[in-house]
């Protein structure tokens, strides 16, 4: 950062920059209103200088509290700044997620999944504020009205006299703006975009493919030691004692660290630390006693305490179901799944002299700063968290936990420590995506129209993101003595407004509360009740949290209803929808896929059956729209399913970078396929048993990769919505529906293993 004193600010230099009306940023930007809003910190988000700096050479430095997680944010945000300031992309330097430099924008979640993640109001508004301020400056300096000025590549020119010109560098010369952010500075519309909206290549791609990019694994601090952790051998076990002599013969071991139930080792070299962690003798008591996995879904129904909530309740569902011409019901089950990042998590900490610096792959630098401060008993302002790239996280993997691990070990060792988790550490104690059991009932009238939809779900949770004050929400904080958020009993209260953020309500219900209906569909008799229960394992957001599970159930069940009344699945969906954008993606996907309009299942074929299925969702109710058609082949003998093609129609409003969007759609779709076919956390009575890539089943690169065809619907006149979690949300249902179309068997439990499909096929053919 430039180190100018106050009197060198532009304003103090006697230049009247711009005067703002009462529409300042102060009021609308109330702090901490929601998880994605900015929070107060020493980097004041209300000040333009917290976001944008212009150097004497015209380079634009932008500061963002949203980080590149592999989803393309670095490039898209740089495009955004380049666009608003009318400079070439190459002249933008983006600094992301450093608590010394960047505003506090909470958590970067959902791979561009939220408009505020994409700085709809913050960084973009700052760039627009800066552009207007620069125009005012130029008007004063060039002696022409601002309306006469035009900007090209960071040079402002008078339209009436092209000799009157000034570059950004000349106008600002490295000084600060000393201006508040303006809410009225005019953003460019999508129709005006020249840099945004183009398929700009990823700015970090060349560094990644040539092995030059620095990841947190590559941070080297002088004097740095290596740490490993020793987690309890059973879920919930507590430490009795540690025999330090068990590792004293290993050369290079510096320290064995114990903090309540947190145990770790520190050594001069990584190999020494790895050996010490493996050989350390520790005695643990209690723990284990886990519920049997094969009875777990059933046990959830009676588990206590239960925190219950209606998303909507028209109070006439039982009555309407009783009046229905026919009623169908089904139960859907979804397992715990892991983030299963390809790299076991790593972080580096340097805790010395009452100060801490953490190089962390966290999605939440400021909350991590607070969590580390609480763990170490330091004031938050003594902790500096620098986001450093990890492997793709897809949500709350062990990035936060390993940051705490490194902080604790460095604090104890008094030297910088790099901590590398093992694959088993990561798989055993990350914060899994939620398991779900979902019961549904649909009543149809004589014409086959749905007249009532009933949904009841049970899902366990423990902890979540630590936020600013709950380090116990993840394993390390918990082991070190902090309490996690636990489910407490709560009866379902009155619904005051329909909100479908986690998609508990199917797209086909009207979502009416009082006389206001906010659902995407038409079904007026609707009841959506979820029971949140205690989990034996830590849980947390995993890409499209809750929505993947709910959408698997809803979109499979609407297909069951269509089959029940012998209706075409596409036409039947549209018949019950009223959200135009959702209807449009369904139509576009069907059209692009050459949808064969007829009821499912397809008339029986030979040993290798083929079929097609569709699923759609209005993600989080209104944060992105997607419909996917899957074409599959099922080998009846083996139960193996081959997906031949996905066609995805996608609407996220104005598209910032179409190639980046396609990359997200393709990756999300195939990740959804992996989750549908193989991924499941397993356990015995003591501990999680899916601990490596032999026991946790991700699709490798060597499978027959289906084509993923994306149909992008680009809407200029609406706000941008999410795009990172939309595509994955519908995949399991689209595949399950295609399997039904091909074979007539309905798979209601993920993952869709060959054994499960074979058993269903066998049950269908046996009398």
């Amino acid at each position: 950062m430039t180190a100018f004193s106050r009197r060198e600010f532009l304003q103090a230099a006697g230049v009247l920059i711009v005067s703002y009306s009462s529409a300042s940023i102060f009021e609308p930007l109330a702090f901490g209103q929601g998880p994605f809003d900015t929070h107060a910190s020493h980097v004041d988000p209300r000040q333009l200088d917290s976001w944008i700096a212009i150097a004497a050479d015209g380079t634009v430095t932008a500061y963002s509290g949203k980080c590149e997680l592999g989803q393309g944010m670095l490039t898209a945000q740089s495009q955004l700044v380049a666009e608003e300031l009318s400079v070439p992309l190459a002249r933008v330097r983006l600094i992301q997620c450093d608590t010394d430099l960047c505003p506090d924008q909470g958590t970067t979640s959902g791979s561009q999944s939220s408009p505020v993640n994409f700085n709809d109001r913050n960084l973009a508004q700052a760039a627009a504020t800066a552009r207007e301020a620069l125009l005012e400056l130029a008007a004063t300096r060039l002696g022409v009205p601002a309306a006469d000025l035009t900007i090209t590549d960071g040079t402002i020119t008078a339209k009436s006299d092209k000799t009157k010109r000034a570059t950004y560098g000349e106008l600002v010369a490295g000084r600060k703006f000393n201006l508040p952010l303006s809410t009225t500075a005019k953003r460019k519309t999508a129709g005006e975009w020249k840099v945004l909206g183009t398929p700009a290549k990823r700015l970090d791609m060349a560094a990644m493919v040539t092995g030059q990019l620095e990841y947190v694994y590559n941070v080297h601090v002088p004097g740095m030691l290596h740490g490993r952790v020793v987690r309890p051998p059973r879920v919930g076990a507590t430490l009795v004692n540690v025999d330090e002599t068990s590792v004293s013969r290993i050369p290079g071991v510096v320290k064995v660290v114990v903090r309540k139930n947190f145990v770790g080792v520190v050594a001069e070299r990584q190999w020494q630390a790895a050996q010490a962690a493996q050989q350390l003798k520790a005695q643990w008591s209690g723990g284990g006693n886990l519920p049997a996995q094969d009875e777990f879904y059933d046990r959830l129904r009676t588990m206590k305490p239960s925190r219950d909530a209606f998303a909507v309740n028209s109070r006439d569902v039982d009555e309407k179901l009783a009046q229905a011409a026919s009623v169908i019901k089904a139960t859907y089950q979804h397992p715990y799944q892991a983030h299963a990042s390809i790299g076991a998590s790593c972080a580096v900490a340097d805790v010395r002299d009452g100060k801490a610096t953490i190089w962390s792959p966290t999605q939440s630098v400021y909350p991590t700063r607070n969590g580390v401060a609480m763990l170490l008993g330091l004031p938050p302002e003594s902790v500096h968290v620098i986001y450093t790239r990890g492997s793709g996280c897809y949500g709350l993997n062990a990035a936060d936990a390993v940051s705490y691990d490194a902080a604790l070990l460095s604090h104890a060792a008094g030297r910088p420590v790099r901590v590398q988790l093992t694959r088993e550490d990561e798989f055993r104690s990350e914060s899994y995506g939620y398991a779900y059991v979902i019961d549904q009932r649909i009543g149809v009238d004589r014409e086959g129209t749905i007249i009532a939809w009933d949904y009841e779900a049970w899902w366990p949770s423990l902890g979540s993101r630590p936020g600013y004050d709950k380090p116990g929400n993840i394993i390390t904080g918990f082991l070190a003595g902090f309490e996690p958020e636990r489910v407490t009993a709560q009866a379902a209260g009155e619904v005051t407004a329909f909100q479908n953020r986690t998609n508990p309500a199917p797209s086909y219900v009207a979502g009416c509360v009082g006389d206001k209906c906010a659902g995407a569909g038409t079904i007026r008799s609707e009841r959506v009740l979820a029971h949140n229960l205690p989990s034996p394992f830590f849980t947390g957001p995993l890409r499209a949290p809750n929505r993947v599970q709910n959408t698997f159930a809803h979109e499979s069940f609407i297909d069951e209803a269509a089959a029940h009344v012998k209706a075409d699945p596409v036409a039947y969906r549209i018949r019950h929808l009223r959200d135009e954008r959702l209807i449009e993606v369904v139509k576009q996907a069907a059209k692009a896929a050459g949808w064969d309009s007829r009821p499912s299942p397809k008339p029986a074929a030979g040993g290798r059956a083929s079929g097609r299925g569709i699923a759609c969702v209005a993600y989080s109710g209104d944060n992105g729209y997607v419909a996917t058609v899957a074409d599959v082949e099922v080998d009846r003998a083996s139960g193996r399913v081959r997906v031949k093609r996905f066609v995805v129609a996608h609407d996220c409003g104005p598209i910032s970078n179409p190639d980046g969007l396609r990359n997200q759609i393709e990756g999300g779709t195939l990740q959804g396929m992996s989750r549908a076919f193989g991924e499941e956390v397993t356990w015995d009575d003591q501990h999680v048993t899916s601990v490596d890539w032999g026991t946790y089943h991700s699709l490798p690169l060597g499978f027959e990769v289906p084509a993923v065809e994306s149909v992008l619907i680009n809407r200029a006149g609406v706000p941008a919505t999410g795009a990172g979690e939309t595509a994955i949300t519908v995949v399991a249902a689209a595949i399950g529906n295609a399997i039904f179309d091909a074979t007539g068997v309905r798979i209601r439990e993920a993952p869709f293993t060959p054994e499960r499909i074979k058993a269903l096929l066998a049950a269908k053919t046996s009398p």
């Binding site: 997680l69 592999g70 190999w271 990042s341 390809i342 790299g343 992996s674 490798p700 990769v705």
Partner: protein
């Protein structure tokens, strides 16, 4: 501890380490290379892949003592940001990465494949990459990039 000589990306190095140390730790901690990465430490995912005498090896389960004097190539040994290897250029052209963590395994296995088989079929590529994970699932682009490279190399 013992003294071990290695040639990495054409440069000679001498390290003084326990010969049982995984090669990956020497490459990333001692030589401070960024290409090979710790994924699983079990030889299951491919993120740590390097070429030893031109053949792909999982450096996380290869003891450094076993590759004394070997000629080792890491991802950064193929090309640079300014002058990427044609295979790396194909990945740039196809924008075939998200987090980029899998690329040592993907690119080096692909290079070894195309070096020995200039006309790889889809199933040849699948077989070569069967031990490699990409958890961002950039599969469609990765396959396109490898085929593009093979095509351009033949031309």
């Amino acid at each position: 501890m013992s003294t071990i000589n290695l040639t990495v990306n054409g440069h000679a190095h001498t390290v003084d380490v326990d010969p049982a140390t995984p090669l990956l730790y020497v490459l990333s901690d001692d030589l401070q290379l960024r290409g090979p990465k710790f994924g699983c430490g079990l030889g299951q995912c491919g993120a740590c892949t390097v070429l030893v005498h031109g053949r792909p090896v999982r450096s996380c389960v290869t003891q450094v003592g076993m590759v004394k004097g070997a000629d080792i190539t890491t991802l950064e040994g193929l090309g640079s940001i300014d002058k990427p290897h044609p295979l790396q250029q194909a990945f740039i052209d196809e924008q075939a990465a998200q987090c980029g963590f899998c690329l040592s395994g993907v690119i080096l296995e692909a290079k070894a494949l195309v070096d020995t088989n200039p006309h790889p079929t889809d199933s040849d590529i699948q077989r070569a990459l069967s031990g490699i994970l990409c958890r961002c699932f950039v599969h469609t682009r990765i396959l396109r990039a490898i085929k593009r490279y093979a095509r351009e190399k033949r031309a």
